[in-house]
């Protein structure tokens, strides 16, 4: 997932399709025009996915928080790349098509909350050389996957189905882990 220098190259690796050239480009850019509360976004335009990182908040973000944002956006890009491939359909990607059928425009956040928190936690642990507990990385993976903007526009925000399944104690622990880390976490990138 990350190389020996802790570079998160796996995002780029995911855009390789065996020896076939990818149908899509992936761009990573810094943006000063994202909303203040938006850490990053992944936008598809034609054959390019652009991951924009909010440059305004960069100095205040922790190293692990930023790594988590990159992994989170990388998963968005990867899932959407599957969905956007020429000839992509419910037979080739049944999971994605089923999530889209049920959750419409919120499909990838819901799918990520259900199935990719473990991937995020694993990536964070590697990036951080396992300096924290497994619980810490699992809790950190929840950021951006508990409450999400309702892309379908019915409400401003909704809770993901995965978050709803947690007990109040678990929710409190996760929130506290994330808040404490934002306040006290290392803000120097490795």
């Amino acid at each position: 997932m990350v190389d020996n220098n802790n570079n998160i190259n796996w995002i780029l690796e995911n855009f390789k399709d065996d020896n076939n050239p990818s149908e899509f480009n992936l761009k990573l850019v810094m943006s000063s025009s994202l909303a203040s509360g938006t850490n990053a976004s992944t936008v598809k335009s034609g054959d390019t996915f652009t991951i924009s990182i909010n440059s305004n908040t960069l100095l205040n973000r922790t190293s692990i928080g930023l790594a988590r944002t990159l992994i989170h956006e990388g998963i968005h890009a990867r899932l959407r790349e599957f969905a956007s491939r020429e000839g992509s359909n419910a037979t080739s990607f049944p999971g994605i098509y089923d999530y889209f059928r049920v959750y419409k425009k919120n499909w990838d956040h819901q799918q990520m909350a259900d199935f990719y928190r473990g991937t995020i936690a694993k990536g964070l642990k590697k990036y951080d050389n396992g300096q924290h507990s497994k619980q810490f990385y699992n809790d950190m993976a929840w950021e951006g996957l508990a409450n999400i903007k309702d892309a379908n526009g019915h409400q401003n925000q909704i809770y993901t189905e995965a978050w709803k399944k947690l007990t109040p104690t678990e929710k409190t622990r996760i929130k506290n882990t994330i808040i404490n880390h934002k306040k006290n976490g290392n803000k120097t990138c490795q």
Binding site: G37, N60, Q155, N156, I158, Y159
Partner: protein, 149 residues
Amino acid sequence: MKNYLLIYILIYSFNSYSQSKDTIYFLINRKDSLIKKQIATKTNKYEGYRIIDEKTLVINTKRSSDLGGNDIQYETFDSYSFSFNRKNDTIISNSYLKTLNLIISRKKFINIKKKGYYFDTSGFLYFFIEKTNHKNKYILRKVYPVSFE
């Protein structure tokens, strides 16, 4: 005279000590249409506030209705989201309210951010205060900054 001065200093010091500089109290103006409140419904339990900054334009993204479709980007006002759990609300009196160092205008609240403290990463504790239907009673509500990805 010296005694009065000492008592004043002690009261002032105690008040400053009990109100940490890391705690922000914001009195919600119900008439301010740029403070949006989301209340839980049967199907969506999320509750929170959205404070809109009409002086700052940002780029937002709207997803396509097609699974593999292109996103649409557009300009909109910046906004700051805060979630809350009403089970943690407390009721305070008018006299207690007067002891708090309140922010009463949205613009001043937004200025926290403009001073370089991003709501989400500042480490501040935030409490929003709302008037109740009972005279002299207010809701003191702990809120949490929300970030999106």
